[in-house]
Symmetry: C2
Subunit: 692 residues, 2 copies
């Protein structure tokens, strides 16, 4: 910025007399000289400093507030003082009387430059923020919404120049705001005359500019000054729908909420919903209707929570996995249920919210991020936009684990993506004592390598199971089962304590050492909690986890091979699952490749964050569209060596791959099998070398 600022400065030097006041804008650092009497807003515009304004300098919208930093800024050779800015004029005073202006603030459209100034463009998200700090994450989003509000005073009709009211509206939008060739939404045409007259020829046009139209379009029109505009960012998951409501003018996050996807009644997982569509003549319609209604209700809720009129929503961004994406748009997802898993549309989709039954302003637009592949959807694209492997110098692995794991691996040079059928084991399904994360569910597990006695924590209880007064504390919620994160830990701890071999076999011989090893038929189980219910980890449970983690790891390895790399620098877990598991145990089990644990992070609902970025900044839309075009999609099913990688990945952490970073923090059991081939991980290394 500083450099850009300086060059701008020089640029202005040439135009402006040396004696003209020097003005420096913070935080951008852009600077230039301007004649005495120049409104601060004009100076900002000239330097490309972003300052919001709807009323176009009439001191009525109050969005162009700035403040003067007083003092001697030696480094900038500027002595800035309140004497260097004009007194409040009548217009500004009028605004202050009616709406109030915070202490020390000025309306930059009215305040004129009288001398050298250091101007602070406030970043509070009530009036005007150029950058948005998303509450959920610490991410900074630069604001560049496709929606802009423009207040104009339209020429009244004149019999000598009988142009239409619409034509005169367009003319002034060009004259005052520089809009050329504006399109006007068809539904507005019958309303224009009434609105113009109601506003006594003063109106605010809501203009939407994005690539779908090469022409910007007036999507709404209001009498007088309209000073509110909101947007929706929504992630439609198979089980949950999450939504943010945000002000498009200030970037303020007004409300966030979620609801369960009502399509669950048509089928728990995605494939069962596809088959519902295939079985039922109007199944597709019913599911599109269901998700549409849920979204409409959720919009109603965030509007109520935020005290916002539904009618003030003008733009929406949706992300979803391919099947949700298609059902939301009213597309039959059948093709996604069978090879070659053809998407109806893979690119970004834009349209009218009204046309797909989403209730907001009649002129509201919807934007759906592109899908990466038949199994890697717009949600994965949004997570990619959020975490930005394509922006990294180092190699980043981004995984979103669900019944189907979506995997993106890359850096700024190259990005590859795939999906892997992990199945529902990680979500607690297919596990004898598995349950979803809820009070009473075991969420943490440790096993003493000597006594083989377990200790665990239960959701809703602060104490560990071996602590004083646990029983009392747990009495209310009980100990009801094992949730996804704990399944990872218990199996990992069983491996670390030698209860199971790296091949996942429960060592029956240990039954002699502890009552917790229980024989059932030809296999053995581990008794985690001897209560009501009795909570055990069976051989079948372990196999299910092995299959799931092997599928995920094999998919990751496939992408690593495509990239020609042997380790990743950064790992990001997107989605709820990632937020609860302990990266260390995930690595012990071999869900993910070896990596510096400090570089393994859970990022929560990255898809939602990506949707928010695309909502607030249309450059992010172009960014993800181009990125998705560049991403190389790998179909694991078609890769010859997937089977071998899968088999290797059945072992814990892996039959052939070394985990040096992990080994430095965890003592892994000896790897007898591999040692025969020449030392821990050696075989693996040799193999890989042989592939080079």
């Amino acid at each position: 910025m500083r450099i850009e600022g300086t060059s701008e400065n020089e640029a202005n030097m040439t135009e402006a007399a040396e004696k003209d006041p020097l003005v420096l804008f913070m935080p951008s650092g852009k600077r230039g000289r301007f004649p005495v009497g120049t409104p601060v807003l004009d100076a900002a515009r000239k330097l490309g400093v972003y300052v919001e304004s709807i009323c176009g300098g009439r001191a009525t919208c109050g969005r162009c507030q700035i403040s003067v930093q007083e003092g001697n800024f030696a480094k900038h050779k500027i002595v800035s003082s309140l004497d260097h800015i004009s007194e409040k004029g009548p217009k500004e005073e009028r605004y202050e009387r009616i709406r109030g202006i915070p202490e020390g603030r000025r309306l930059s459209c009215s305040a004129q430059i009288l001398g050298d100034l250091v101007i602070d463009v406030p970043q509070d998200t009530v009036i005007n923020a150029q950058v948005v700090r998303k509450a959920a994450t610490d991410r900074v989003i630069e604001r560049n919404s496709p929606v802009q509000l423009c207040y104009v005073e339209v020429e009244e009709p004149d019999m000598h120049k009988p142009s239409g009211d619409l034509e005169r509206l367009k003319a002034v939008l060009d004259k005052d705001w520089g809009w050329k060739d504006l399109r006007v939404a068809q539904h507005l045409i019958p309303q224009i005359q009434g609105i113009l007259r109601k506003g006594n020829w003063c109106v605010t046009a809501v203009i939407h500019k994005d690539m779908e139209f090469s022409r910007p379009t007036v999507i709404a029109l209001y009498p007088g000054l309209k000073n509110e505009a909101y947007g929706i960012a929504c992630d439609i998951g198979s089980t949950t729908i999450a939504m943010h409501l945000v002000s498009l003018l200030s970037g303020r996050l007004v409300a966030s909420s979620g609801t369960s996807n009502p399509q669950i009644r048509f089928g728990e997982d995605l494939m069962s919903r596809v088959s519902y569509v295939m079985m039922n003549p109007d199944g597709r319609e019913a599911m599109t209707k269901a998700v549409g209604e849920a979204v409409n209700q959720l919009i109603g809720k965030v509007c109520e929570d935020g005290g916002v009129e539904r009618d003030d929503i003008f733009d929406m961004v949706f992300v979803a996995n391919p099947i949700m994406h298609h059902l939301f748009l009213g597309i039959d997802p059948t093709e996604l249920g069978q090879a070659p898993f053809a998407l109806a549309v893979s690119g970004a989709v834009q349209g009218w919210a009204h046309d797909i039954g989403i209730e907001a302003n009649r002129g509201a637009r919807v934007y759906l991020l592109p899908c990466i592949a038949g199994h890697v959807g717009a949600d994965a694209a949004a997570a990619t936009l959020s975490e930005g492997p394509h922006r990294q110098d180092r190699m980043m692995l981004l995984v979103d684990v669900g019944t189907n794991a979506e995997i993106v691996l890359g850096n700024k040079d190259r990005v590859v993506a795939a999906s892997s059928p992990t199945g529902p084991a990680f979500e607690g399904a297919e596990i004898s004592c598995g349950q979803r994360a809820a009070p009473g569910a075991i969420e943490r597990v440790r096993i003493d390598p000597v006594t083989l006695e377990p200790r665990f924590r239960v959701i809703g209880v602060d104490k560990w199971s071996d602590e004083e007064g646990f029983a009392e504390a747990a009495a209310s919620v009980g100990v009801t089962g094992i949730c996804g994160s704990a399944i990872i830990e218990v199996v990992a701890e069983m491996y670390l304590s030698g209860i199971i071999s790296e091949d996942g076999v429960v060592d029956g011989s240990m039954a002699e050492r502890t009552h917790r090893i229980i024989q059932n038929g030809r296999t053995f189980s581990y008794l985690l909690h001897d209560g009501e219910p009795r909570i055990t980890v069976t051989q079948t449970d372990i196999r299910a986890i092995q299959l799931a983690k092997a599928a995920l790891y094999a998919g990751i390895k496939l992408l690593m091979e495509k990239q020609g790399i042997e380790h990743v620098d950064l790992i990001r877990f997107a989605g709820a699952f990632g937020s609860f598991i302990d990266p260390k145990y995930a690595m012990v089990l071999g869900l993910i490749p070896d990596c510096d644990l400090a570089e393994v992070k859970a990022v929560g609902n990255a898809a939602g964050t990506g949707a928010l970025m695309a909502l607030l900044n249309r450059d992010h839309r172009r960014e993800i569209e181009e990125t998705v075009n560049r991403i190389e999609k790998i179909e694991t099913a078609l890769e010859g060596n997937f089977q071998q990688l899968f088999v290797n990945a059945m072992a814990m952490p892996n039959k052939v791959d070394a985990f040096p970073h992990l080994a430095s923090v965890v003592t892994l059991p000896e790897r007898k099998v591999l040692s025969e081939e020449g030392g821990e991980g050696g075989g693996g290394r040799r193999r890989r070398r042989s592939r080079d």
Copy 2:
């Protein structure tokens, strides 16, 4: 063309070897050399010769037919022979077997150049006509429809490149047809996969290209080869709705029909309908609904008459007066009922037929021509496009006489327009014995200047009233009243025979000479037919005609003054009224200024013809949009001297203006009043001179 052809020729000479065969296309005259084996279609494309093709050279659509002219064309130095074109190949033979090809025709996509050829591009409107000859008029319309059909074979989905079906459709439309950045109508997105599979990956895309979108748009998609595309051109008049159904591929006029505007039940004339809207809360809605239903029914009728599927209509052009225009679009016309007569929208309007409730293909587009002013609508614009004053070297006067006369005057340098409130007199209303043109109505009148006896003709009877056996012939229909055209004639004849003075006063003294001059109270009437009913022309009737014609003439004069001219070169009467009146009598009465009678023509429904031109050629849309922007609108009510011009025009033919052309064919009564000022028409001339 020849010149262009020659230049093309030279252009090709440079590229092509001298020995390459020389090919001349007729009627365009474009010529060039092409290597042996070049398909004739490719040669045509290279030279910019328009030959329709949907299948893109697969010999399946059959629209690219041409024929070879045999012989020695010395003037072109070409010996053309059937030996110089390839034999029919298997594809062409297959098409001939299934669909048949007329004698001597070839499919230019299959026929290859073997030697010098003179190729005839047939102009029959069944297969492919570059120019359309409109049945109604002798007008030639060059065809350049915004609608184009493109057959493509789409790549099947591939798991290695998981792009969407839509993206692959776009890709091949770019590859085969050169469409860049195609937009796809939102409503098609859910249908694409089904259509592609139904067509086994072969589909025809219906693409609409026009300025409203800077991007061409796929508005419909069909499995396999789609070989039909139709359009509607419709003139929505206050009393009648007229419609043409035309093939957009061949230009063939399939059917034309009309119906009465059901809004009549809300009010006979426009202003009474506006007041109905003002009086009734849902009056606007009711009238929009009524006209929409009428248009939909009429579409149904022309489709039935032409054996065309409603769903095959992809483009529509509507013209109407401003109030009909607004009501059709669902715009409240109240503003048009009062000064300043503000149009909601004056420019051309484009949109989806579906959005305004017009039933055709779901993706059909509508285009409305621009309105010229609050009283000069899209119908006047269409008539202007049809008759083309803006294309003339000489000064053309275009008048459309209704209750409100629309007047356009100009040449290629400058065009001015106005409307004048003529009232309903010309339509037979406000006339004691007036009636609409129907059997029994008097349509022609002559009066013997000596005996003052009339003779007349009646609609539905061949004989004149003074001919043998008229009474018997007329017995069935009777003699029921006077229609609009006859009112002009009878008043004109009364003036020519001296029954009325140039000021329109019935000369009571003549009652001594003939029983046909009848006194009623202080004024006199002329007895035209002494039967049942008794048909007379009263002083009041004459005054009504004088007021109407004076209003029209004063409006015309106002425009002539703006143009600074004293006479017009060409006069065109648009609309039904113009088709029935005798230009000579119109001039005797002084409806229109003096002009060579040979240059006064009735052009029928010019508005409908203009709509058809805009439908078939989008260049005509740009032409009229630009022309209307250039037209200077004059509001007669605001012109100071309108009153004086009006008063002068009350006299027959006019108090001050001379009618030399008319005088040369008709002996006008001596103009006593004027002669006092110095000879016939002299006063007028002197006045005009004084204005110069």
